[in-house]
Amino acid sequence: MSTPTTWRKPPFIQSPALRWLFILSVAAYVIGTIATLPIDWERTSEGFARAGRIFSGAFPPSFDRSGLMISGFMESLKIAILATTLGMILSVPLAFMAARNVSPKPVYFLGRGIFILARSFHPVIVAIIFVKAVGFGPLAGALTLTIYSIGFVAKLLAERIEEIDFGQVEAIRSAGAPFLSTMVYAILPQIMPRLVGLGIYQLDSNLRASAVVGIVGAGGIGATLANAFGRYDYDFALAITMVIVGAILISEAVSGVIRKRMT
């Protein structure tokens, strides 16, 4: 028997027909979409000149109207705080509803459905609906971020409830306690640390998100930013962006430190 002199790496997809079908369809998709993108090349090519103008307009950043900026930022902070609080309060019952091990099937599906719905829509979409329903301003923002918080906190909390130690639940149930006190005495203490951790994390996310939902009219510093942009005040817009980035970095660091110290 002679020693082989050829070797090929076994391909990822064994069947050659399938492999080529896969490669060709990916290539066709990429080339096809890029070629048919509805792009206005003329307008796009002006972009670099515009970018130059925008950036020269943006430097140096202007902190002249810092009063406006501070009030916008404080509003974002309040929105974030209220949305986090309300979101957590609503998340607790919802999490119980959506935990497989404590709630009956229909309630479980209802709970899941609610937070799948809450998670699927980007906060900006939720915000624009709320703006239409309750008007411009921080109320729409707070409601939006409440929904946003529920989608995240309730889901993770439900997962936490699903993995709790059931011994304590049984013990209290067998003592003849009604449903609600079972929950309060046996489960709540077990999920409390997680709830607090999620709350701090969510406050941080809500602060980020509040900068964004403001762009569609839901109050806070995002609204200030969108206004500055709309009025071509690029130097003010840059200043606002810098403040947002700074606040996000600080809030990320603070929430990271707190969560680390808690665990």
Binding site: L37, R50, I54, K78, L82, S120, L139
Partner: protein, 265 residues
């Protein structure tokens, strides 16, 4: 808390208990401050449920007459997310390479890399989109670039961390064979970060699909444009049709990405 007395007793000393109360008090004060000073008209707040119910009543039944253009915009949304993710993956590779402690060529590159990551990550996609719409005009290109800019930071950071976590031993063996730096990368580092690479790319694609649905609200293409149009003209039944489509899109995206994850990893 009678049942937990043993635990409570072990867990909290009086000083700790005092601190817990102080923290709770502080939290309450902060919430009260936010509540009392926020600039809302409280009548509107009490009115909000009625307004919302009213809005939702106007949304049913969803109106599918515009479905063809909704679906076309959905396809565009998918394309924005996919193409932008692909471009971001390509661009994030060198950024990840220079911002990982163990592969960066020198300190200057490390800091450049980190600067790129932080600036990309701390500016939200929508804010990027606002900027690029101002630059390139409304349309899909602004959307693609915005998603791309935001994704580079995300992908670069997670890939960089994956590079920092690789096992150094095989790299050393390749160096001992006389392999060049580049060959060491493709034989030693690439195979090791491959799983993280796929996981992170799929995750980002899923996120980008969601983010692409709102680009249109600032004029950067996709289904958001139709949503904005319908809202502006009070076509609430069409709005609900668009929302259902978005829901379907996002859920399919989640299903596809979790299937891919299972297949590839």
């Amino acid at each position: 808390m009678t049942t937990d007395r043993a635990q409570d007793w072990a867990r909290f000393t009086p000083a700790e208990r005092l601190r817990r109360y102080l923290v709770m008090l502080a939290a309450t004060v902060v919430v009260v401050w936010a509540l009392s000073s926020i600039d809302v008209i409280w009548e509107w707040v009490w009115d909000a449920p009625i307004q919302l119910a009213d809005l939702f009543a106007r949304m049913v039944p969803p109106d599918p007459t515009n479905l063809p253009s909704i679906l076309e915009a959905t396809w565009q949304t998918i394309n924005i997310a996919t193409i932008a993710t692909m471009l971001a993956i390509l661009l994030s590779l060198p950024v990840a390479y220079i911002s990982a402690q163990n592969t960066t060529p020198n300190r200057a590159c490390l800091w450049i890399g980190r600067f790129i990551l932080v600036s990309s990550r701390s500016v939200n996609t929508i804010i990027w989109a606002l900027l690029f719409v101002a630059i390139f005009g409304p349309g899909i290109i602004a959307g693609i670039i915005a998603i791309m800019f935001r994704s580079i930071g995300f992908l670069g950071k997670l890939l960089g961390e994956a590079i920092e976590e690789i096992d150094h031993a095989p790299i050393e063996a390749l160096e001992a064979c006389g392999a060049s730096r580049f060959k060491t990368v493709i034989y030693g580092i690439v195979p090791q970060v491959m799983p993280a690479f796929f996981a992170v790319s799929i995750l980002r694609w899923d996120i980008n699909l969601r983010e692409s649905t709102v680009l249109g609200l600032v004029g950067a293409g996709g289904i958001g444009i139709i949503l904005q149009g319908a809202i502006d003209t009070f076509q609430w039944q069409e709005v609900s049709m668009v929302l259902i489509t978005i829901l379907a899109l996002v859920i399919s995206g989640e299903v596809i990405s979790s299937t891919l994850r299972k297949k590839l990893l």
